[in-house]
Structures are given as C-alpha cells and as structure tokens.
Amino acid sequence: MFTSMLEAFLNLFRPIRTHQYPAEEMVLPSGYRGLIEYGIDACIFCDKCEKVCPPGAILFYQHEDGTKTYRYNPWLCIYCGECVRACPKPEEALWQSETKQLSALKEEGANEGWFVWEEACKQSREEYAAAKKSAKIQNKSEE
C-alpha cells in the first residue's frame, strides 16, 4: 500500500500521458495514407484505377467526343492505395498524399451528389457504346 501511495504522489509531477488534442496539433506519422491526388496532364485515361478500386470511389465520365472526366469521392475512398499501384504513371497521374480528409458538409453532397454522378457516368458509358456501335453498323452498310 505504501508503494502505491508513493506512486500516486509521484504521478502528480509526471508528464501527462494523453494527447491534449485541441490545444496541441495531432501529428500524423510520415507515410500516412491520405487523399488520392490526380494530375490530369499525365493521365492517359486507361481506366485501370477505376477498375481496381474496391469501393468504386474513382469514376470517369465519358463525353461524346471521346474525352473523359475524372471524378473522385474522398468520403467513399478507403485509402488502400490500390489505384496508385495499378496506375501506369504513378507519381505523375495519380499519387497518394499525406493530407487527411475532413468530414463532409451537407452542401458537399457526399452521398446524394455521388449517387447522381454514378448514374450519370454509367449512362454516359452506355450512350457512348451505343453511338459507337451504330456508327460501326453505318460504316459497314456504306461499304
């Protein structure tokens, strides 16, 4: 009992073990798996990242002229880094940063907005494929 009382008394002068969070900044370790970042200039639009992504957080919108638009949902992403490993040009087109994503605000539409986008991407793919198919048939019939 004497030792425990001594310990308890000494504990008054020992440094605090917990992290004083709002007063002190939380330090993330180096190499923290954070947001996926995208460089449009180096991207070759191979769609490999979209295919490997487990939750489907990366989508490409297919425009009618053949170009594509990248869209990424940081709130759906599980930060596994599989897309970066699949990317043929890592570090230039797609890389994993060490920044942490904050919680979504209502205006950002993390769920509803993304559902709309998912539907739009799916539809754009189908329309593009159908247009290509009909163009092929037309070409053949002309020949």
């Binding site: 370790p29 180096s30 190499g31 930060y79 599989e82 490993r85």
Partner: protein, 361 residues
C-alpha cells in the same frame, strides 16, 4: 414450482463491448444452463465477397470484418488465393507478413488483458494497459500508414517496405514495451484482485477442452497443445523462435498468463524478424485467376481462423467461407459458464476475448 430462474446477459450490457446475448438458467446464484445468441451484427460480408467484389478486391473487404485482427483476415484470404494461383511468396514477404501478424497479436492480447482488469474493478490498470498498447499501435501505423485499417497485405506481396527509421522505431517501442510487460506479469501474479480473485474462476478442464474443441489461448490455458503456428508450414515460425505457451489450470488467471507470456514471445519474435529480414522484392506478380478450392488456417490472436475460397477461373469467386475463432469456441465457452456464479459471468466472458463482429460478420 419451477426452481430455476432465467437471467439474460446482453445483448446490451454494461460489461459487454459488442452485442452478444447469453441466457443463463440459474439456480440461486449458480448457472446451470446456458444459451447463446451471436448474430446481432450480421453484415453479409461472405455474400458481398462473391456478389459485389472481384477476387483482387475481396482482400480489402474481408479486412473490414474485424478491427482488431484485420491483418489476419486479409492474410488468410490472400494465402488462400495465392494457393489457387500457384504463387509462392519469397522469404522477405513472409517475414514482413509475420511481423504484422505478431504485432497484431500483441495489441489484441493487451486489449483483452485491459478488459479483464477492468472487469476485476481495476479501472486504473485498464487505462494503463491501453496507454501502453499505443506503443504497438504507433508501430503499426508507421509501417502500414493507418491506425486500424492496415491494408498492408495484397495478393503477391505486401504494400510497403521497412525503412531504417521504421526499424529503429520498432526496436525502441518493443524495448519500452518489454519492461512494461514484465511489470504487468508481476502485477497479474501478485495483485489481490487480479490473481486471487481470478484463481479457480471459470475453469475449463482439459477433457472438456478436448470434447468441446476449444482453441487459441482458451485451449492453451487448459493445457491443450493446439496452435496453428506449430501445425502448419505456411510461415517459418520455428526459425524465429516460436514457443508454445501452455498453462495447466484453465481458469481466468491461466488465460491471462497465456496471453502475457505470448506477448513476451511475440516481442522476441518481432525483434528476430526485424534483425534477420531476408533480402528480396516485396511485391511480385501473381498471374491468373483462382480456379479450384483452397483451405487456409492461420492463428489469429483468439485462435484458429479458417478460410475456404472456391473459384471457377473467373473474376468473381464462387464461395468465401470464414470461420472465426470466437464462433468455434462458443461450445467451450458455454461449458465454462456452467457451475460458476452468475456474478462472475462478465469477468469470465471478458477472459474469452470474444469478437462478435468477426463471428457475425
């Protein structure tokens, strides 16, 4: 007139971390019959693995079955798929995987010890052990890049390599932890509420352990020599100084001691792995698609984790079956409850270290 009374424990109870329900048939204070219900957190992971995700993505899905043994789940699944693909990992990959599994075992056992202490009415020790556990969590976070969802193991290797700074951090934190575990062993042996109170409580006899197929620390505390690490040859555990930890009494005290001594053993193994890391690539190409059926057993912190994976040469798998250690240990758990006091039930339950989110998946 009926002589027994039914008392439920759960699904919501002050001593429970996760939802599980036991219905105790009590005669005065003695428990004479037990009924268990574990399916409160069912999420349909097995079906999702075969319907919504391709086999390369499933490793990340099964890692989310459990927060504590995430690495063991993804490791078992990856081993099963690698067996189907005919891929054999090199020694460096094997050692890095072993390192993460052993670190996982250390922090899982520490969590269980903390809760056992809490159930003995020892709140301060709970805080202390959870604080010490941060040493291991920090190492895991630095190695894998995330605190809980490691996503470290992928088909064909591991995702990150050890750097010299990481090796220094591992040595520093494991060194600090060794002293703390030594102090804990003394405390668990000599403290009144942790040793005398728990000696002879919740006894599982060796014969019952055989009959009811106990596994993991529960079986080893009863003296049943069962450990997947010694039984399978997927990993070179003999080379890094693995020893089977056995106790004979089978009570809560023995379970605590199996866990404490396994932590000591795991720390030694981690240091061996880091010191003797072979040279090689950390990621190799595993080509093809899974065709056939593979069964894998891996020793999770709580016991044997069993995976069955069946594929038919396509991107989608036909079947993923996960049998978790807690699920297999339920018959033995129910046997332990019989004959003990009702007031001891929360403490006995905490000493099993049940993981409901694994079991119900």
């Amino acid at each position: 007139m009926k002589k027994t009374i039914q008392i439920p424990l759960g699904s919501q109870h002050i001593s429970l971390l996760e939802p599980i329900r036991f219905k105790f048939e009590c005669e005065n204070e003695k428990i004479i019959g037990v009924d268990a219900d574990v399916g409160f957190v069912h999420r349909g992971v097995e079906l999702a693995c075969t319907r919504s995700f391709e086999f390369k993505q499933v490793g990340y899905v099964v890692a989310r079955v459990c927060g504590l043994c995430a690495i063991t789940h993804s490791l078992s699944y990856t081993l099963a798929v690698e067996k189907l693909l005919g891929f054999v990992a090199n020694d460096r990959i094997k050692y890095l995987r072993m390192l993460m599994v052993e670190l996982d075992r250390i922090h899982s056992h520490m969590l269980c010890l903390a809760h056992t202490a809490e159930n003995a009415g020892f709140e301060a020790l709970f805080m202390q052990i959870m604080g010490d556990r941060e040493l291991i969590m920090d190492v895991q976070e630095a190695i894998s890049g995330n605190r809980v969802q490691f996503d470290y193991i992928s088909i064909g290797g591991v995702n990150r390599d050890l750097t010299p700074e990481l090796v220094a951090l591992i040595h520093k934190n494991l060194g600090l932890l060794t002293d703390k575990i030594d102090a804990l062993i003394g405390l668990f042996d000599n403290n009144w509420s942790l040793s005398l109170k728990y000696k002879g409580v919740g006894v599982l006899r060796l014969e019952d352990a055989y009959i009811y197929n106990a596994l993991g620390p529960l079986a080893r505390a009863a003296g049943l020599a069962t450990d997947v690490r010694a039984e399978t040859s997927d990993f070179p555990y003999e080379d890094i100084g693995y020893t089977m930890i056995l106790e004979s009494t089978g009570d809560i005290h023995a379970r605590n001691f199996v866990r404490l001594r396994e932590i000591v053993n795991s720390i030694a193994m981690c240091q061996n792995i880091v010191n003797n890391l072979p040279v090689g690539e950390i990621q190799e190409k595993a080509k093809g698609k899974p065709n056939g059926e593979a069964v894998v057993r891996v020793e999770a912190p709580r016991g044997e984790l069993f995976y069955l994976v069946r594929g038919s040469g396509q991107n989608m798998l036909d079947r993923v079956r996960i049998k978790t250690p807690t699920f297999s240990a339920i018959p033995a758990m129910m046997e332990v409850f019989k004959g003990s006091e009702y007031a001891d039930a929360p403490a006995i339950l905490a000493s099993f270290d049940p993981c409901m989110s694994c079991t119900a998946k």
